[in-house]
């Protein structure tokens, strides 16, 4: 394929993760290495900022400054800012106007490379832009680079950002188990983990089982219908064996028909993509257990720190997140477009974990969700299988720490 000379633009979209800046650092590092790519622009607040021409010159900031790139790599959340903007479909009145505006900006800045780091919803943006530029004949290489703590994107062995969230959840779970074990009074501790539809992150709470031998006693994922009566029976059985029972539960569990737990979800907003923001699953179960068992019970919602806990990131995740961003730049230069980058597990059975980067057609990926498969969940639906833990374990390997000054992490910012 002929070389396509031009500038690049990179943006971040959707919910922050600990590793999305590592991927940004990777795209920048890769683009700096590509002779066909001239300037690299960063869009502030994703496609929303691009439409307002809020662009910054990334060459100026990072060229020849490896320390800055390293700091960016270890900084949580989206340094360029993010958005939840969904591009219009052809049947919407603002369709033509929006895409014409984008093409106008691409032409103005001679942008021929478009990198978009995001989750499921962001791949929708990549797909739509790919379609429009093809139809209108604007030559452009468009690549989606995945990120999501939910690990629910199709086509990739796992998603950048997931490993660090899983690391945070599994490490904190080890500490919570230590904390709750100090008293002899019967007590139930319910830990609510992020995961609206997919239970990957909640499953990672159980990783201690094959490493330290300490893990939550019960684990409930949204992939299986939640039965209140079975839950109470499971708890009773656990409390017969030990005084301190720890439960990990996904925020998104759904009760069997006719049953309910107070989730308080109704009070929350519905986001631009129609998802209901859930909260209160742990609190709802806490109230249920209090009422039904009468024992000491506490719920802990791990909340935002799960997705921004850069102080204990997974080294595997940060390295892969950087690597997949860098690979995206090189793939684009070599002619790849309309694709999402993926991570492929590359080790044979019994061999140490290794991975390589690939890419696949964005249409096969956008707006689809990869759930935890049935054989990763035990028969009773109250824990996960060893096979699942073995899949998850390499993803939390190694510790990536930020640098510290005067006791606090030195994170990168575009605004200082």
């Amino acid at each position: 394929m002929a070389q396509l000379y031009g500038n690049a633009v990179v943006g971040q979209s959707g919910g922050p993760t600990t590793a999305i800046n590592a991927t940004l650092a990777g795209v920048i590092a890769g683009a700096l290495e590509c002779s066909a790519i001239g300037k690299i622009y960063g869009m502030r607040n994703g496609i929303e900022g691009l439409l307002e021409e809020r662009l910054i010159d990334l060459n100026e900031i990072f060229e020849g400054d490896a320390d800055k790139l390293e700091a960016l790599k270890r900084t949580p959340a989206a340094a360029l800012g993010s958005c939840r903007k969904k591009l219009p479909t052809p049947d919407k009145s603002d369709y033509e106007k929006t895409f014409e505006k984008l093409i106008e900006i691409f032409k103005k800045y001679d942008i021929r490379y478009f990198f978009y780091i995001g989750g499921n919803d962001s791949m929708d943006t990549v797909a739509k832009l790919s379609e429009y530029t093809k139809v209108c004949g604007y030559e452009m290489r468009i690549i989606g680079v995945p990120k999501t703590v939910d690990n629910d994107l199709k086509g990739t062995d796992h998603t950048p950002g997931f490993g660090s969230a899983a690391k945070f959840v599994s490490v904190i779970m080890q500490e919570i188990i230590k904390d709750t074990a100090v008293y002899t009074v019967p007590a139930v501790t319910i830990v609510e983990v992020m995961g609206r539809d997919a239970g990957w992150l909640t499953a990672s709470a159980a990783l201690g089982r094959i490493v330290t031998g300490e893990a939550p006693d019960l684990v409930y994922l949204p992939e299986r219908e939640f039965d209140v009566e079975e839950f109470i029976a499971d708890l009773k059985a656990c409390l017969k064996k030990k005084p301190n029972v720890v439960v990990a539960v996904s925020e998104g569990i759904q009760c069997r028909e006719g049953q309910s737990i107070s989730t308080g979800a109704s009070g929350r907003d519905v986001d631009a993509f129609g998802h209901k923001a859930l909260s209160g699953t742990g609190k709802g179960l806490e109230m249920l257990v209090k009422e039904r068992l009468g024992c000491k019970v506490r719920s802990i919602e791990l909340n935002l720190p799960q997705r921004c806990g850069a102080h204990i990131a997974s080294l595997c995740d940060i390295n892969e997140s950087f690597g997949v961003g860098r690979a995206a730049a090189h793939a684009a230069e070599q002619g790849v477009s309309r694709e999402m980058m993926v991570i492929i597990r590359n080790n044979g059975e019994g061999e140490p974990y290794s991975s390589v980067f690939g890419h696949m057609d964005i249409e096969l990926i956008a707006n689809k969700t990869r759930l935890v498969p049935a054989h990763y969940i035990n028969e009773r639906g109250n824990n996960i299988t060893d096979e699942c833990l073995e899949y998850l374990l390499p993803l939390i390997e190694g510790e990536c720490y930020p640098s510290y000054k005067n006791g606090l992490p030195e994170f990168f910012s575009f605004d200082k």
Copy 2:
């Protein structure tokens, strides 16, 4: 003073902290160095386990095994187990029986040294035991070693365990601020920090102000009456300046008369010392802000990880916690008794932080609370002063990490 030869017993009591095991490691290390001290017993579950003769031989486990002692030092929560048992007062029917039983056990195991690591309530145990042994003429050296994430004990510059909790809170706050800053839509994030009566830990959430320049916009401590109307006015003023406002609030804030926020506290238990277990302050404020301002709002309860986050402990705290335990053993050998160990800030003004260990009469300390002084809080009562931050900053200095294996921390346990 004449040497007192005999064995020692050490216990942990009250709520867990990240550093209470570092103090236990210090007491063990110190006792191993003391020629007057023979065996060192650990009581399982504090005074409660001691009364049941649940003792373990610590020499056997730790003598000549520096690695094990180091692992204990970096392990969160109370490795020996804890309790919330309060010893009876002389007017109670079980008074004589309880104390006679204790003396009987001391005699049986030839225990002449008693170390109790705990908070405010645990110092009450130390005080009562000191009184009884004096009256009954059993020669014994009894020393309390402080711990509490609340930093609310009198007589000590700060408490072991506080620095690590403050480190966790201040580091996580840096990450939460990054996370909440990615969108341009006006949003309020309320972070609820532990602290029933004293706001020390919540104050530490603001440490970034003098280090990174990033800190919560508003900080509310229980030392000042909480005015709902002023809070709403403060929020509105902040939202005029920036879209993402972050608030740190103590769980224990109390509203001005006639005002209220839904705290859900009534559903919780009252503990053995008559404290009401609070919860839901952040959630209550979230609902209030939603109703009054209508903007996007989220609350985050930092919950247990504050007090067990050993994966990012303060090196200053872990070293001091170990040091004060070790100093307790040496002080006891030298004749100190009926005292609580304290940390004394030793640097002159403008000099780098340094500290030494001392001890003071337990009667001056037990059952008293040290609140954040008025001049550490700003006039409006919605933030803290630089003077407060300068007091707090040295306590979070340095990072103490556990060792990791297969991605998870290798914590010490007496049960494996």
